[in-house]
Symmetry: C2
């Protein structure tokens, strides 16, 4: 069944609730008995904590594993300023470097260079090789929590990503970021984009978002919920709280599967 | 009077209100008759729009000015993979490339590589040279709206920054980011850090923040305010709205001057 290996990337402006939504997606797939590879690719977030993994802050992001990066890209062997391997071995990393939680495997990638281009370094080479492997070759559901951009993705991976979900909140900059992400996605021929409206205070917020993003599909709208803020303050996993977000995300997942199969 | 050339860097997790706070600081200094150089160094934000500069989205970030970067770092002349100038000329850029608004000059820098290190490219070389110049040599108030980190700053500039203000909201990840920024700041011997609490829903939020960041000084607490969200949705500059944030930021500025002089 093809639905089993669904690959989903989540992006959006910082602070819109991208990581919380990703955690809800992951936990929902997990509830359904699926194996999920959860990828934390946003250095400004903490997907592990949002998933309820207690010691998530102790996980070292791969971008900071200097020895591994040097070993795999063979940097040291070429000397500083020398060449390095552009196709490092990465297929063992998802199992070796992930933290397990139920049927979820969590990997922290860390930061990758934003924009600019023209800068190739061993860290980003390893991360990109790893993501290509994960998206193209892993036989499980993959959910990637990304920065306000899709810098981790390239042309090779774009086609294999089933859905790019952009989380937006009622706020102009969140909408600008959504437009920007859509442009970046179009550049790499990635067209299956959809939106989630978050922190919705009432029907006006939904109307505002629809009006400002008229030609993109909304998968759902999640209400503003003090209970989620309180859960966060008390270090309770948001998925373990009674919130309408849960059933909304369940519906989103069901629809994603319906369309895929 | 030394207070005239105060240099302030603002950082914090994405979405906490860093850019809105920076805009309030800038507009407050402007109200006081100061000349301000406003630096938008967060590719995920839009300081211009927050300041009320109507066509702010048309400003091209310097990190995307390929020709300028190539010309100043002399990349083209060395050929691809060749050397480039590590001390490009930048002193003319703040006046040549800023957008004026009253006594405010706004520059958009764009993204710089996060974390990792070891990666030196023409874009980041130019941006770092520019920031060093701005912090060390410009004779006006400088306010920098930065990403969730202080990657734009180095040892040379750290001593010249009068205050690093970290904006936090009631939320665990915002606190984690504050601790992370403090660590990065300590690495470059930058010790004058203070906090602003934002989106405060009541006394419990203030207590929560103080308890979780016990050894840092809070300059002030700004209440959660629907009026600021509404202003944003209606494309009204937040500083032109009747909100308690205004008088709180005025007090913050007055205290910064008192301590400096």
């Amino acid at each position: 069944m093809k639905g089993k290996v669904m690959k989903i990337a989540v992006s959006g402006k910082g602070g819109v609730g991208k990581t919380t939504f990703s955690a809800f997606l992951i936990r929902t797939f997990n509830e359904m008995g699926r194996h999920v590879l959860a990828i934390d690719a946003d250095p400004d977030a903490n997907l592990g904590a949002a998933l309820g993994i207690f010691d998530a802050h102790t996980i070292v992001p791969i971008s900071e594993m200097k020895e591994l990066i040097f070993e795999r890209t063979e940097v040291g062997q070429g000397g500083i300023g020398g060449f390095f391997k552009m196709n490092p071995r990465v297929d063992d990393l998802p199992d070796a470097l992930s933290v397990k939680f139920d049927n979820i495997k969590l990997m922290r990638l860390g930061g990758i260079k934003k924009g600019g281009g023209g800068c190739i370094c061993p860290e980003s080479t390893l991360l990109k090789a790893l993501i290509t492997h994960i998206v193209l070759a892993r036989n499980e559901v993959v959910i990637m929590d990304m920065e306000a951009g899709i810098e981790h993705l390239g042309r090779a991976t774009a086609r294999a990503v089933d859905k790019l979900i952009v989380v937006v909140e009622p706020g102009r900059r969140s909408i600008e970021t959504a437009h920007h992400i859509r442009k970046l996605a179009a550049d790499i021929h990635m067209r299956d984009i959809a939106l989630i409206g978050n922190k919705i205070r009432g029907p006006e917020d939904e109307i505002f978002l629809r009006r400002n993003l008229p030609d993109l599909n909304f998968l759902g709208f999640i209400p503003y919920d003090d209970a989620l803020i309180e859960a966060d303050l008390k270090s309770i996993c948001p998925f373990d709280v009674d919130t309408p977000a849960k059933s909304i995300v369940r519906k989103v997942v069901a629809e994603l599967f319906d369309r895929k199969q």
